[in-house]
Amino acid sequence: MEVSNRAEGLKETYDVAGRDFSSAGAASSRIKRILQQIGVDQGIIRRIAVSSYEAEMNLVIHASNGGRITLDISPDAVTILVEDDGPGITDIKKAMQPGYSTASDEIREMGFGAGMGLPNMQSCADELEISSEPGVGTTLKMVFMNR
């Protein structure tokens, strides 16, 4: 797909498979490349890339049913919407705490499961909203202002 040269009106959705570690990170990689092509500030790109990758890994690790990531670029802001099809989060407040993780030993051996992903996203994004319905899925919306 052609990416326009202006930071305007671009919207793309990527499917992310649960538990597929071989392509985990591909969506965030694409998002980063698009933001570089349209000339978004490097520091902002880094915050978006880090947050998007953390969210993508959460989807791959915790949301076994998979989901999707939508990149929405407007002149003022970049929005990353991450939606998955379960299992959902029962206690969001707990999940947001640094160090809280339900990751298995297998996941920890891969370098994840420190319970730092959501706190990282919280500190990188200008706005973060998370909602979840146990048994149904989780929606995470992050907004980054494009000064």
Partner: protein
């Protein structure tokens, strides 16, 4: 101050210098050995790397999977150094090559690798660097040779 490889201590070094100090084998990215590096991070937790590593750093790790390459990509890291003689997964090497990310292998364990580079003058990454308000998280950087135990904010 001289390290065992005879390289003068300084705050900037090239990947080639790092290879020499760590007695490292280059798995990919031969063409980038003259790149300058000013900071490093030694860690096996990718979320900590993502939170605390400065862009343009190198990462020393014992992990050998594709996620290390993805993490390096998100942060624009200059190289990944795999410690203690571990061989990277074929899929990791393939992805690193396609991204142009240098991968070096050192026979020494993580602590030794970090110690040798630190003694040679390569600094660490202090505090959270992607936070919106960077000043609120800055801590006084440790200087090589003057590191105190339990420096705050280094991830743990």
């Amino acid at each position: 101050m001289n390290d065992s490889a005879g390289i003068q201590a300084r705050s900037t070094m090239t990947l080639a210098d790092i290879c020499k100090i760590l007695n490292a084998e280059v798995i990919c990215g031969e063409d980038k050995l003259d790149e300058q590096v000013t900071t490093a991070c030694g860690c096996d937790l990718m979320s900590d790397v993502l939170a605390f590593t400065l862009p343009g750093s190198i990462l020393l790790t014992g992990l050998t999977n594709q996620q290390v390459v993805r993490t390096a990509e998100m942060l624009d890291l200059k190289a990944v150094i795999i410690v203690r003689n571990k061989r990277p997964d074929e899929s990791m090497v393939e992805l690193a090559c396609s991204k142009g990310l240098p991968i070096l292998l050192s026979p020494y364990p993580l602590y030794e690798c970090c110690g040798m580079l630190f003694a040679a003058g390569l600094k660490g990454c202090n505090g959270s660097v992607h936070a919106k308000d960077e000043s609120s998280q800055k801590i006084e950087p440790a200087k090589p040779g003057e590191m105190t135990c339990g420096a705050p904010g280094l991830g743990d």
